[in-house]
C-alpha cells in the first residue's frame, strides 16, 4: 500500500521507495528508507500535505511525494 493512501494512525514498514531525482533523495535523507517503520499522524485541513512519524520525529510531505513510498500495511 502507498503511504499516500494510509489514513491517520495507519502505517507499517517501508518496503520500497522511489528514490529517483532530488525529491527522492530528500525523502530518503529525511529517513524514509526501506526497512524503517512509518505512520501517518494526520492530514492537513485541505487534504494535503500529510504528517508522518518516521525515525522518531514528525515530517510533513505532500501526497504526491508520499506516493513514492510503499508500506506493508
Amino acid at each position: 500500500m502507498r503511504l499516500s493512501q494510509c489514513k491517520p494512525g495507519q502505517g507499517g514498514t517501508i518496503t520500497q521507495v522511489d528514490g529517483e531525482g532530488a525529491v527522492g533523495q530528500r525523502l530518503m535523507e529525511m529517513g524514509l528508507i526501506e526497512g524503517v517503520s512509518v505512520k501517518v499522524i494526520r492530514v492537513a485541513p485541505l487534504g494535503d500535505p500529510i504528517e508522518v512519524e518516521v525515525q522518531h520525529y514528525n515530517l510533513s510531505l505532500r501526497k504526491s511525494e508520499a506516493d513514492r513510498v510503499e508500506v506493508d500495511a
Binding site: 494526520r42 492537513a44 510533513s60
Partner: protein, 746 residues
C-alpha cells in the same frame, strides 16, 4: 570514500589559513538550536554579512581570543541543491571564495532526534576535518523519555561528544574545552562504515579521472543536478558531465540509484553503531502532539490560524502605524525647524533649504518610516519560527499556494507584503528553493501594501458615491483593489514558474519540529538584523533616489516665478498695512491670502520643473488611461513611494503639501479634483479615471524601497528592473482597461 582526505588525489581544496587565527565552523540540522548555541558561544562579538555573489547570510564571531566561529546555514544533508547548502559544503571543503578552510567543525545534533541528525554528521565526517559533537537539547529529550549516553556515543563515533543545553547555557565550558583540545592535535575522523563496492569503485575512478578528492567526486556523482555537479561541469566542461552520467549508469546497472546506496549505508550504520547508545522510555503524547491536535485540526486549527494571522496583521497596522506617523511628524518637525532657521536669513527659500528639507530630511524619513513595520513583522516571524509554529503554517497553507506553483513556505512572506513588501521580500529567506523564493519575491509587491491606502482613500472618497450599493460601494472598491493584486499575482507566478524560473517541483518535505519556548536573544537578533540590514544596505540607495526625485521637482527653479510671487505678496502686505494694527479677523484674512500665494508659488515652480515637463512629455502615453499631464507627473514623482502622489497632487493644485487636519485636507483636494478640467472644459476626473488611477497604483512598482530590497535579495539590479517593467506594464494595461471599459459603461 572512508578517510576522504587521505585518499585525495590532487584535491582542489585550499589549505587552512596560515594566520594565527584558528577557524571553527558550526553546522547542524535546522531546529537543533544552532543559532542559540552560536550566540551563546560568541556573545556580543557576532557579525553578520553576506557571502559574495549569493544571498546567504554569513555569521562569524569570536569563540575566544584567536578562535573564530563560523555559523554555517542549517542543513539536513551535504547533498547541496540550494545556495544555502552549497555555501555550507563549500566552506567545509575549502571551496568558498574568500574563505579560508576551517580547522575544525562543531556538529550540533538534537539529542531527541538523533538518528536523522547523525545522518548529516556521517557526511561531515568524510570532509576530512576534526570534529566536536555538541549533543544539544538533552533536557527536552529526557522529558520526552529519550536518554543518550554521551560516552558510549563518543566511542561509537570516535569523536568527542559534549552534552549541552544551549538555551540555558549549559555545557558550554566543556564544549569550549573540547574545541580547544581538538584544535590542538585531533586528527580527522576515520569513518567506520564501508561504502558499497559498486559505488566506491566509480567514485574513486571519477576522483582520479577528474583530479578531485573522493568527497567532491562522491557528491558530484550522487547528487544529480546538484551543486557539486554544476561546479565540476563549470571547471572541467562537458566531458565531466559525461563522465558523471557514465558512472551513474554503471552504478544503476548494479542495482540501485547512487543516492539510495549512500543513504541506506549511512542509516544502516547509524542504527547498528549508535542505536545501543539511545534508550527510549515510552512517554505519553507530548506537548507538541497535544498542541498539534488543536493547531492542525481541520476546523479549530484553521480558525486558530486565521485568528493568529489576522492578529499579527492588525497588530502591525495598529502598533506600527502610530509609530510611523510619529516618525513622519518628527521629520516634518525637523524640516520645519530648518525652514524656520532659514527664515529671514539671506538664504531664505533658497536651494540649500529646499535640498535639506525636501531632499535630505524627507529622504532619511522615507527610509526610517519603514522600520516599525520591518521590526514588528520580524518580531512575529522570529517568534513563530523559533517556537515551531511556522512549519505548521506552511503545512496548513501549502495546498492553497500550490495554485500558483508555490509551496506553504511562501505564505508568511506574501501575507507580510500586505503590510509592506519590503519586510515581505526580506522574509523570503526562509524559502529554501531559490526558484520558489524568486517567484515569491517578484509577486510580493502585487499584494496591496499600506502605502496604497492613502491613494485609495483620497480617490475613493472623492469619486466613489458613498451611498452606492446601500453604502457598501466604497468598501467594495477598497476590497476590489486588494483582490486585483491577488488575482494578478496568480498568473504572474504561474508564468514565471513556467518560463524564467522553470524547473522541477522542489520537494515539500519538511520537519515539523517540537514546540518550544522562543529564545528572546534569537528573536531580538532577528529583529535587529533585519532592521539594520534594511537601513544600512537599502537605506543609501533609497536616499539617493529621493535626492534625484527632489532635484527633478526643484530644478530649474526659475527666479522669475519667485520674483513674481514676491511682488504679489508685497502687494497683499501693502494693502493690509501695518500687521500690528490689524483686527484679528483681518490679520487672519491677510495670512490666508499670503499662504494661498505660497501654495500657488509652489505649484508654479512644480509645473515649471523638469518633472513638470516630463509630465507634459508623457501626456500622450497616459491619455488612454484618462489621465492629464498632472496625474502623469504625480505618478512619476511618486516613484520613491506611492503615497507621495497625494502630496504631489496637492502641490500641483496649489494646496501646499499638507493640510491643517485630515478632514479639511481631504475636503480641499476633493474640491480641487472634482473641479479640475481639461482645456476644453470637460472634467478631468470621473469615476473611471479615479478607478484607473487606483488600479494603476494597485499594480505598479512605484516604491523605491521595494525595488532596492529586491536588488539586495536577488543579487542583481536586473531583477529589480524586471519587477519595475513587468508591474508597470501590468498597471498600465489594468488602468487602460479600467478606464476604457468604464467610459463605455458610463
Amino acid at each position: 570514500m572512508s578517510g576522504a582526505a587521505s585518499e585525495a588525489t590532487g584535491g582542489v581544496s585550499a589549505p587552512p589559513a596560515a594566520t594565527g587565527v584558528k577557524r571553527v565552523a558550526i553546522i547542524g540540522n535546522p531546529n537543533t538550536g544552532k543559532t542559540t548555541l552560536f550566540n551563546a558561544l560568541t556573545g556580543m562579538s557576532a557579525r553578520v554579512g553576506n557571502y559574495p555573489g549569493v544571498t546567504v547570510e554569513k555569521k562569524t564571531g569570536a569563540l575566544e581570543p584567536g578562535v573564530e566561529l563560523i555559523d554555517l546555514p542549517g542543513t539536513y544533508s551535504l547533498a547541496a541543491h540550494s545556495p544555502d547548502e552549497m555555501v555550507a559544503v563549500n566552506v567545509l571543503h575549502g571551496d568558498q571564495a574568500g574563505e579560508a578552510r576551517p580547522h575544525a567543525v562543531v556538529v550540533i545534533v538534537d539529542a531527541g532526534n538523533l538518528q536523522r541528525n547523525l545522518f548529516l554528521l556521517t557526511q561531515v565526517m568524510e570532509v576530512g576535518l576534526p570534529i566536536v559533537v555538541a549533543l544539544n537539547m538533552v533536557d527536552a529529550a529526557a522529558k520526552a523519555g529519550v536518554t543518550v549516553d554521551p560516552k558510549a556515543l563518543g566511542e561509537a563515533l570516535g569523536l568527542p561528544v559534549v552534552p549541552t543545553v544551549a538555551s540555558e547555557k549549559k555545557g558550554l565550558d566543556a564544549l569550549r574545552a573540547a574545541i580547544r583540545a581538538t584544535l590542538k592535535d585531533a586528527p580527522a575522523p576515520k569513518p567506520a562504515w564501508n561504502w558499497p563496492p559498486s559505488l566506491k569503485q566509480e567514485i574513486d575512478a571519477l576522483a582520479k579521472g577528474q583530479g578531485i578528492d573522493a568527497f567532491l567526486a562522491g557528491r558530484a556523482l550522487i547528487d544529480e543536478g546538484g551543486a557539486a555537479e554544476t561546479m565540476l561541469a563549470a571547471r572541467r566542461g562537458a566531458a565531466a558531465r559525461e563522465a558523471l552520467q557514465a558512472a551513474r549508469a554503471k552504478v544503476r546497472a548494479a542495482g540501485s540509484p547512487p543516492a539510495k546506496l549512500e543513504i541506506q549505508m549511512r542509516y544502516a550504520w547509524i542504527a547498528r553503531a549508535v542505536g545501543p547508545c539511545v534508550s527510549r522510555q515510552p512517554a505519553g503524547p507530548g506537548l507538541t502532539d497535544r498542541l498539534d491536535r488543536v493547531l492542525t485540526h481541520r476546523l479549530v486549527g484553521t480558525l486558530a490560524f486565521v485568528l493568529l494571522m489576522t492578529g499579527v496583521f492588525v497588530t502591525i497596522f495598529i502598533v506600527a502605524d502610530p509609530i510611523m506617523g510619529l516618525i513622519d511628524e518628527c521629520f516634518g518637525w525637523v524640516g520645519d525647524q530648518i525652514t524656520a532657521s532659514f527664515a529671514g536669513g539671506a538664504m531664505e527659500g533658497g536651494m540649500l533649504q529646499s535640498l535639506l528639507v525636501d531632499g535630505v530630511v524627507a529622504g532619511v524619513g522615507g527610509v526610517l518610516v519603514f522600520l516599525p513595520q520591518i521590526a514588528f513583522l520580524f518580531l512575529f516571524i522570529a517568534l513563530l519560527e523559533d517556537c515551531g509554529y511556522m512549519a505548521r503554517a506552511a503545512f496548513l497553507m501549502d495546498r492553497v499556494l500550490r495554485f500558483c506553483g508555490l509551496s506553504g513556505h511562501s505564505f508568511i512572506p506574501l501575507m507580510s507584503s500586505f503590510a509592506c513588501a519590503v519586510p515581505g521580500v526580506m522574509a523570503t529567506r526562509t524559502i529554501g528553493n531559490p526558484r520558489d523564493r524568486f517567484t515569491t519575491i517578484l509577486i510580493a509587491p502585487l499584494m496591496s501594501c499600506s502605502a496604497r491606502i492613502p491613494v485609495y482613500a483620497m480617490l475613493s472618497r472623492a469619486f466613489v458615491p458613498a451611498d452606492g450599493l446601500h453604502g457598501f460601494l466604497p468598501a467594495l472598491v477598497f476590497a476590489g483593489m486588494y483582490f486585483v493584486g491577488i488575482v494578478a499575482a496568480i498568473p504572474v507566478a504561474l508564468v514565471l514558474k513556467g518560463t524564467l524560473l522553470k524547473g522541477p517541483t522542489p520537494p515539500f518535505v519538511m520537519e515539523l519540529p517540537q514546540y518550544k519556548m522562543p529564545t528572546p536573544r534569537v528573536v531580538w537578533q532577528r529583529v535587529w538584523e533585519a532592521s539594520k540590514a534594511f537601513t544600512v544596505r537599502a537605506g543609501t540607495a533609497i536616499f539617493a533616489i529621493s535626492i534625484v526625485i527632489w532635484a527633478l521637482l526643484y530644478f530649474p527653479h526659475q527666479a522669475s516665478i519667485g520674483e513674481d510671487y514676491e511682488a504679489r505678496r508685497e502687494a497683499v502686505r501693502a494693502a493690509y498695512g501695518d500687521e500690528e494694527k490689524l483686527a484679528e479677523e483681518a490679520k487672519a484674512e491677510r495670512q490666508s491670502k499670503l499662504d494661498e500665494l505660497d501654495h500657488q508659488e509652489a505649484g508654479a515652480y512644480l509645473r515649471a520643473s523638469i518633472m513638470g515637463r516630463m509630465g507634459h512629455w508623457i501626456e500622450p502615453v497616459v491619455r488612454p488611461l484618462g489621465w492629464d499631464w498632472k496625474i502623469g507627473m504625480a505618478a512619476i514623482a511618486s516613484f520613491p513611494a506611492r503615497e507621495v502622489i497625494v502630496g504631489t497632487l496637492r502641490i500641483i493644485y496649489d494646496l501646499g503639501d499638507e493640510g491643517d487636519d485630515e478632514e479639511t485636507a481631504q475636503k480641499q483636494i476633493q474640491d480641487k479634483l472634482q473641479a479640475a478640467e481639461w482645456p476644453d472644459g470637460r472634467k478631468v476626473y470621473n469615476l473611471p479615471v479615479a478607478l484607473s488611477i487606483m488600479i494603476f497604483f494597485a499594480l505598479c512598482a512605484q516604491c523605491a524601497a521595494t525595488l532596492v530590497t529586491i536588488k539586495k535579495e536577488m543579487g542583481s539590479w536586473k531583477w529589480a528592473a524586471f519587477t519595475f517593467v513587468y508591474m508597470t506594464t501590468l498597471a498600465y494595461i489594468g488602468a487602460f482597461a479600467t478606464y476604457q471599459i468604464g467610459m463605455m459603461l458610463l
